[in-house]
Amino acid sequence: MKYAGWILIVLLLILHQDVWYWDDPTLVFGFVPIGLLYHVGISFFAGMAWLLVVRFDWPERLDQDETSGGGPTQ
């Protein structure tokens, strides 16, 4: 599952480049243009993909080694 979210993100980046609904004005449910609905779906699945990433590939150690402070050295 570690890579599931990342695979989905790459897939979404590819699917984002849709040419198949370029000239299709069909209204889905009688009011949503299909090209818009498709990209709303991309947004929704982007949220889901990032959920998988933060669930299974989050760098947990960052919260553990945050404590040491100090100013910039330069």
Binding site: G35, H39, S43
Partner: protein
């Protein structure tokens, strides 16, 4: 007056919130600039989202959809949903971690430390500030414009030249002052609270507006079906054959009018009164006598032009050069560059509009009708309506072009700009812990969807909606300024209260970006210039807060004064700035993840960005050509490639930073 009252109440509420959050101020510079790294997941999500979404979120999304159709959602919104979260995760979390560990407040500090180079900080500082300033100006100018448009008629005998509404310079001044007060007193904590409050406001108002407008248009189905019938091209990214045909006929008719008007002006043609009467009698629109009185003069000219084409061989009377000049004159454009040799190479849009005088001509034409908005029933119109009528009747038909595929695909690189926004960098550093980013990473694409999808639909509906009390008249006339479409629809279709509330939402979106940008530039001047070169121990903590506040006051004042100068093409410049930030994205990623990045490599990336930016900006005729593309791509694509290529090549042939520095940033 109601919208003005609503806006004043909203601004007062915001001031109260700012003053409340200042009570939580802990009195240290770390608290003032970074809220003591204490921001939780919800506040982080809302402040990041509010900062990222400018006025563009509400008015820009609907305006672009009105002009370009539903394709803008894929180009601007769904792409941002994926890429912004990628920036938060890949850049934001890592930058937060290093900032927390080594006490960074700005990007320059990180780059100086990482590359052992003082010069890179010095080089980046003016570039980052230069790229943020147009963005700030847009917010300040837009706030004055929206307040003016929505308060028309609020005064009975003052500000006639502003349609009796609040003058834009006062609106911008008040908004700048409100933002200044809560940023000045509350610092980053005040900004985060204000952003959260304002983000909630503009998200709720966006959705409420969608439902109210759809209801007034007869429901979502009726509104969309009207578009399918009249402008199906707005429901896709191509142009429907029927619309293309109708557009060609309309354009031909417009060219005839342009030619006729030119010849009349040059006294090369003169129809007799009998000929004019015959022309008017042959025009079905004039015969039907359904035109409003103000439109009759324009239609008569069209009828005469059609008559001249038929009986006087109009086209043969003009050379190609004269035809081009005729079109420029009819479209109120200047001969701002040499005319091409052939009519086929002539593109009207590439010539600058004569903004200094067309509005005056429009007001002169309608001078007898211009009056107070409350006199609408007596036939009086506002100055803005006079401009609108003039544009609608005189200018060339609006462009009807498919969305270029390669430009759509390469636009995906523009949202990378978020990874280099200095104001967002500062927000990232406010997080209490790394895991607080999780909510922002996941919810950001969904929030974009919630705000953008309804606004895009409303914008598309605007292309085909009719007046509720006159089904024969279009709700939005041709050449209507796209960014004003949403406020106009709300004003026409809903109550004054809702109009006031929506504008409060638009101001919320504007101010939630302005505040972070003001604070960020103030922080950069304090940290990267004064404290950096005076020495870290030169100033006490209280003096640092004083310095930051002084810089913020100065920046707000300078931005406001610049906004009064009517900077040409500032909105176009703003869009170009995003490309500049995006081209610097490879640099921040390399600094965080690539051990081999060297200071000369970083210089090369910055210089490649600057060089390509200047070159392409000049090639686009300094932003005048809105269709400018590089081999069919958005200019951002070659800019990112140039920056990346220069950085990698130069880094590989130069000496990397010391092992101690690499160990610090990439511990094994």
């Amino acid at each position: 007056m109601t919208p003005l009252i609503v806006i004043c109440c909203y601004l007062a509420l915001l001031l109260l919130l700012g003053l409340f959050s200042s009570r939580l101020f802990r009195g240290t510079s770390a608290d003032y600039l970074l809220a003591s790294h204490s921001i939780g997941p919800f506040l982080l999500l809302m402040s990041i989202f509010g900062t990222t979404m400018t006025a563009f979120a509400l008015v820009g999304s609907s305006g672009e959809a009105y002009a370009e159709g539903i394709g803008v959602y894929g180009m601007l919104a769904s792409s941002s949903g994926i890429v912004h979260s990628l920036c938060f995760f890949v850049v934001g979390v890592k930058a937060w971690s290093l900032g927390r560990k080594y006490g960074y407040t700005t990007q320059s500090q990180l780059f100086r430390d990482r590359l052992e180079s003082d010069g890179i900080g010095l080089l980046l500082f003016p570039i980052l500030v230069g790229l943020v300033v147009p963005y700030l100006l847009i917010g300040v100018i837009a706030s004055g414009t929206v307040i003016n448009s929505v308060t028309e008629g609020a005064f009975t005998d003052m500000f006639a030249q502003y349609d009796y509404g609040v003058p834009p310079w006062i609106g911008s001044l008040v908004v700048s002052a409100v933002v200044l007060v809560y940023v000045f007193f509350g610092g980053m904590r005040g900004t985060a609270w204000a952003n959260t409050f304002q983000t909630i406001i503009f998200m709720i108002l966006g959705v409420v507006t969608f439902f109210l407008i759809s209801d007034r248009l007869g429901g979502v189905q009726a509104a969309s079906e009207a578009v399918l019938k009249k402008h199906p091209s707005k429901l896709m990214r191509d142009v429907s054959p029927d619309e293309r045909k109708a557009h060609a006929v309309e354009t031909e008719r417009w060219k005839n009018v342009a030619n006729y008007n030119w010849l009349v002006e040059q006294k090369k043609i003169s129809l007799s009164d009998e000929q004019k009467q015959a022309a008017h009698a042959a025009d079905p629109v004039l015969v039907a006598k359904k035109l409003p009185p103000w439109a009759v003069g324009f239609e008569q000219r069209r009828a005469e032009a059609a008559y001249a084409v038929e009986h006087e061989d109009l086209k043969a009377k003009l050379s190609d050069e004269e035809k081009m000049r005729a079109m420029l004159a009819q479209d109120d454009r200047l001969e701002s560059k040499p005319l091409p040799a052939s009519l086929d190479d002539f593109h009207l849009i590439e010539f600058e509009r004569d903004d200094d005088s067309w509005e005056a001509r429009a007001r002169e034409y309608f001078k007898a009708s211009i009056g107070h908005p409350s006199q609408a029933e007596q036939g009086k119109i506002t100055r803005k309506q006079a401009h609108g009528r003039y544009r609608a009747m005189r200018w060339a038909p609006e462009k009807l072009e498919p969305m270029p595929k390669l430009q759509f695909f390469t636009y995906l690189l523009v949202p990378l700009s978020v990874g280099m926004f200095p104001h967002l960098f500062q927000h990232w550093l406010t997080a209490r812990k790394a895991s607080n980013f999780k909510l922002a990473v996941v919810a950001h694409p969904l929030f974009i969807m919630i705000v953008w999808a309804p606004c895009v639909l409303v914008g598309v509906w605007a292309t085909s909606a009719m007046m509720p009390d006159n089904p024969r008249a279009s709700l939005v006339p041709p050449h209507f300024p796209p960014n004003a479409v949403l406020a106009y629809m709300v004003k026409q279709l809903t109550s004054e209260w809702l109009t006031g509330l929506l504008i409060a939402g638009v101001l919320a979106a504007i101010m939630s970006s302005l505040d972070s940008q003001f604070l960020c530039i103030g922080t950069m001047f304090t940290t990267d210039v004064v404290v950096r070169y005076a020495g870290p121990n030169r100033f006490s903590d209280k003096q640092k807060i004083f310095l930051a506040r002084s810089f913020i006051v100065a920046i707000v004042a300078i931005t406001y004064l610049l906004s009064l100068l009517d900077v040409p093409r500032v909105f176009t410049l703003g869009v170009w700035c995003f490309s500049g930030f995006a081209a610097l994205f490879p640099l921040i990623v390399a600094a965080l993840y690539w051990r081999r990045l060297t200071a000369p490599g970083a210089y090369a990336a910055v210089l490649a960005t600057v060089a390509t930016w200047i070159y392409f900006f000049a090639e686009s005729d300094y932003g005048r050509n809105p269709n400018f593309a590089v081999w069919g791509m958005q200019p951002v694509a070659p800019m990112v490639l140039a920056s990346l290529g220069a950085m990698v090549l130069v880094s590989l042939v130069t000496r990397p930073p010391s092992e101690a520095t690499l160990q610090k940033f990439f511990p094994k």
